[in-house]
């Protein structure tokens, strides 16, 4: 048995050395790790408009530099719940997880405006609850501000093979293409229907065995896209004025 003195000194030296080593390593890798995370999130957002990328490219084929370039060329307004564009902040600075913890009226909403070949896409971010944990996604609207150009979803801890299919199975997100969130000017959002879509314009097929996750997606879309309604109305009015 070693003396208590020896034990204390041994532990202090060991943990001290470990702490210094790990802190050094963390500091050395910090900026690259943050950049990797940033690009990972940007790829996810861009997947919503994957079908409209130049030359039919896929998001996975783009290099990290190209991703950064696309995003730096994008208009990235941040709007509040009244639809007013906030100054001095870019959409990519917004952390949706943090915004969700705020009171509803204080939330800030990121918008990514992707322009290609004369077409404008508005990529909106939504976040809600699945079965086990948070789910989130991006929805790209065409310039009529109703038709969905593409959508992408992700989750924190849904069941693999069931709820996780919202991300793992590309055909789930593909169903959203061409759906409309407005019905004759009235906001209806898009619903994930158990047992198969009935309304071809506003519903998609659910995933069997994942009812709660699917309901979570419906709720997330309804509430999340509704937040953007004041902003979408404003753009519509602006474009009406321009056309006159």
């Amino acid at each position: 048995m070693e003396s208590t003195r020896y034990v204390v000194i041994f532990i202090l030296i060991l943990t001290g050395a470990v702490a210094v080593g790990l802190t050094g390593m963390r500091e050395a890798t910090k900026s690259q790790a943050a950049l990797n995370e940033d690009i990972f999130n940007k790829r996810a957002i861009l997947t919503a408009v994957e079908d409209y990328l130049p030359d039919g490219q896929k998001v996975s084929q783009l290099t990290d530099d190209q991703i950064v370039e696309i995003f730096s060329g994008m208009e990235q307004p941040v709007v509040n719940m009244q639809g007013e564009i906030l100054d001095g902040v870019q959409a990519e600075d917004i952390d949706m997880a943090k915004e969700r913890k705020k009171a509803e009226e204080d939330r800030r909403l990121p918008v990514y405006v992707y322009e290609t070949g004369g077409q404008k896409f508005y990529i909106l971010s939504v976040r809600g609850n699945g079965l086990w944990d948070e789910i989130w996604g991006s929805v790209a609207l065409k310039s009529d501000l109703s038709t969905v150009a593409g959508a992408t979803f992700d989750h924190k801890g849904e069941t693999p093979g069931l709820g996780a299919e919202i991300k793992d199975n590309p055909s789930f997100a593909e169903q959203f293409q061409g759906k409309e969130i407005y019905d004759d000017g009235e906001y209806v959002s898009i619903k994930v229907r158990k047992g198969g879509a009935k309304d071809p314009n506003h519903e998609v097929d659910g995933i069997s065995g994942a009812t709660v996750t699917a309901d979570g997606v419906s709720e997330m879309l309804y509430r999340g896209l509704k937040y953007y309604e004041p902003y979408l109305e404003k753009i519509k009015q602006q474009s009406l004025l321009l056309n006159q």
């Binding site: 048995m1 532990i11 060991l14 790990l22 890798t29 790790a33 995370e37 990972f40 069941t159 793992d168």
Partner: protein, 236 residues
């Protein structure tokens, strides 16, 4: 005969029969998963795709190898009262190194493995080897023992991953640069189930995506292993 030959050489990095056995034993006769039945939790959780399984296997090999090495180097100085805490500090440090490295090198895989990298700390294989072997053996042999046990764990992980990915997703190495799409319902796959008359009935097995399927696969592996390696049958 071989043992006298080993004793004559007093080099630190000798590699004789005993050392070779340290590497090869955990691959079959003393496999951490199929014989000792350790490290099952992560073997069930991360094996739905081959690529994350492979990364996990490499991470565990790194941790077992170097925690064995460092524990063995310190074995004469570690106070007996707190030896487990010291082992845990060493393991936790290496796991944090793996986590930081993965964030730096391959963020998507880091996301995919999520908590399971952190949970290498609780993997019984690592601490089991430190207690059973490294505390009483030289650094070089402890290192080999660590590599061997990591490999034994990793091989099973990748094998389970291959089965689960082929039957659950119809692909191999999804998420890596060498992704191979084998069977599925569109033209990207080698066997297109929509066009091919022979495979029109085929659908991915959704059970394979769930962790429970790994339990069955590991069970079948244990069965196969014991049916040809009969000396294992009465061991446990």
């Amino acid at each position: 005969m071989a043992e006298t030959a080993v004793k004559e050489k007093e080099s630190v990095f000798q590699f004789g029969n005993k050392e070779r056995k340290l590497l090869s034993d955990p691959l079959n006769d003393n496999n951490p998963i199929t014989v000792q039945v350790l490290g099952i939790c992560s073997a069930l959780a991360v094996t739905s795709l081959v690529y994350p399984s492979l990364v996990m296997a490499i991470a565990v090999i790194f941790v077992t190898a170097f925690s064995s090495l460092f524990t063995s180097l310190l074995r004469n100085y570690i106070p007996k009262q707190v030896r487990m805490i010291v082992q845990l500090v060493i393991i936790a440090t290496l796991v944090t190194v793996v986590e930081l490295a993965l964030k730096y090198l391959n963020y998507p895989v880091y996301k995919q493995l999520s908590v399971y990298i952190g949970l290498i700390i609780t993997n019984c294989i690592v601490m089991g080897r430190l207690e059973a072997f490294s505390m009483a053996n030289t650094p070089w042999r402890s290192f080999l023992d660590g590599v061997g046990n990591g490999l034994g764990y990793g091989i099973i992980l990748v094998m389970v991953g291959v089965v689960r990915e082929i039957f659950g997703k119809g692909s191999l190495f999804a998420g890596s640069p060498i992704e191979l799409k084998i069977i599925g319902p569109n033209a990207d796959y080698l066997i297109n189930t929509v066009d091919s008359a022979m495979f029109a009935w085929y659908a991915n097995n959704n059970l394979m995506v769930l962790p429970a399927s790994a339990m069955f696969i590991i069970g079948i592996m244990i069965w196969i292993q014991r049916s040809y390696n009969t000396k294992l049958v009465d061991v446990s």
